[in-house]
Symmetry: C2
Subunit: 201 residues, 2 copies
DNA sequence: GGAGCCCTGGGACAAATGTCACGGGTCACC
DNA sequence: GGTGACCCGTGACATTTGTCCCAGGGCTCC
């Protein structure tokens, strides 16, 4: 019997997947959580064989949680299940020790199959994505550039960003300019868009 | 037997919901589509009693499709099922003739129940959302202001927008300024954010 | 001890952006 | 016929934004 932990924020998706996997005779859902912070505690409590994690969760992200599990419960495999097939997500998932990476676009039948293959020791990766991940180079952005860019979402002004990151406005503009250059875009919004697209956050 | 058409772009979600609803003994999925443009043709072909529509679909949006069904297949009820509980979405769904509005956050059990209640002639609306919809006033934006704002997503420059909407750059800036004023925001990005939040698009 | 990178700031400048006041046009409504 | 919406455009203006210089301090690696 394969014990599964399921982390997914959309209630309907979570419920549907749980019911679905429950129908498989060799799979048992031992825990369901809708928040990233609950993943590690629940896993320690229920000792699943595999954790099925969404990336974009309230609280701790699925990628962070994957790293937590790696150190806190190493025998538990991690399978990332996400809406967005961004190359950088895949890269970061692998670095965090995930054994598989599926996008939610695919057919449901893939899911149970992927779980069994991961448990068998295989690595399961969406094939189209693997190619894209190899195409996109490594993250060219510096730590501070990422911070500033992340603070620039939804139209914050330079002053807003400076306050949020505790930097001088002049410095913020320098970082923004650098990020815009490195992403080869024309303004901050395009830069955040490009950075998110590649999973550079 | 209740005949259901299911429109949802995420393959996994679509498959899971279909399987789930198929387990109910009084429900039958007669069509599944992942694209808004296929909704009306498929509905005319399979004559469902109720259409379960996501809003954000490739091609025609679920709200547009709801209006199509209203005129093309009036006996088919429409139940909107969406990720985003934006007040304006609810308003527009009702104007398009939808009989129900559910958010994907809720438990799966609600879904089959909602389908039956809609078929019984009831209107099913997420209760929290109904209050929010009454709170947010009607759309203050003019047609052109909406166009310009919609073209301003993801960091397009004024020249870009002008080209996309076939207007003079100066005029675009005027509309942008008006939209910013009406949304009481500070720049275009905050304006599009606010407008989308309220479903003013 | 360099060389190189990142972090942090500043100043100066061109370009883009947001605001305002002002034209003229159509159309509906009273 | 007048009033008031919305449409489309211009010109002028202050502010913000993006770019390019510069400089110092920290850090690692050779």
């Amino acid at each position: 019997m394969i014990k599964v932990l399921l982390a997914e924020d959309q209630g309907m998706m979570r419920g549907a997947l749980a019911l679905l996997l429950g129908l498989e005779e060799d799979i048992e859902i031992v825990a369901q959580v809708g928040n990233g912070d609950e993943i590690l505690p629940k896993a320690l409590e229920t000792r699943p064989d595999i954790a099925l994690l969404d990336i974009e969760l309230p609280g701790r992200s699925g990628l962070d949680a994957a790293a937590d599990l790696r150190s806190g419960l190493p025998e538990c495999r991690v399978l990332i299940l996400t809406t967005f097939g961004r190359p950088g997500y895949l890269r970061r998932a692998m670095e965090a020790g995930a054994c598989g990476f599926l996008v939610k676009d695919g057919p449901v039948e893939d899911l149970a199959a992927a779980i069994r293959r991961v448990l068998a020791g295989e690595r399961v990766i969406d094939p189209g994505l693997a190619a894209a991940a190899l195409g996109a180079g490594p993250n060219p952005l510096t730590q501070r550039e990422r911070d500033v860019l992340a603070a620039a979402v939804d139209g914050a002004t330079v002053a807003d960003i400076a306050a949020k990151v505790h930097l001088s406005p002049a410095t913020v503009r320098n970082y923004l300019s650098a990020a815009i250059g490195k992403t080869s875009t024309r303004n901050r919004m395009e830069a955040v868009r490009a950075a998110r697209q590649n999973g550079w956050l």
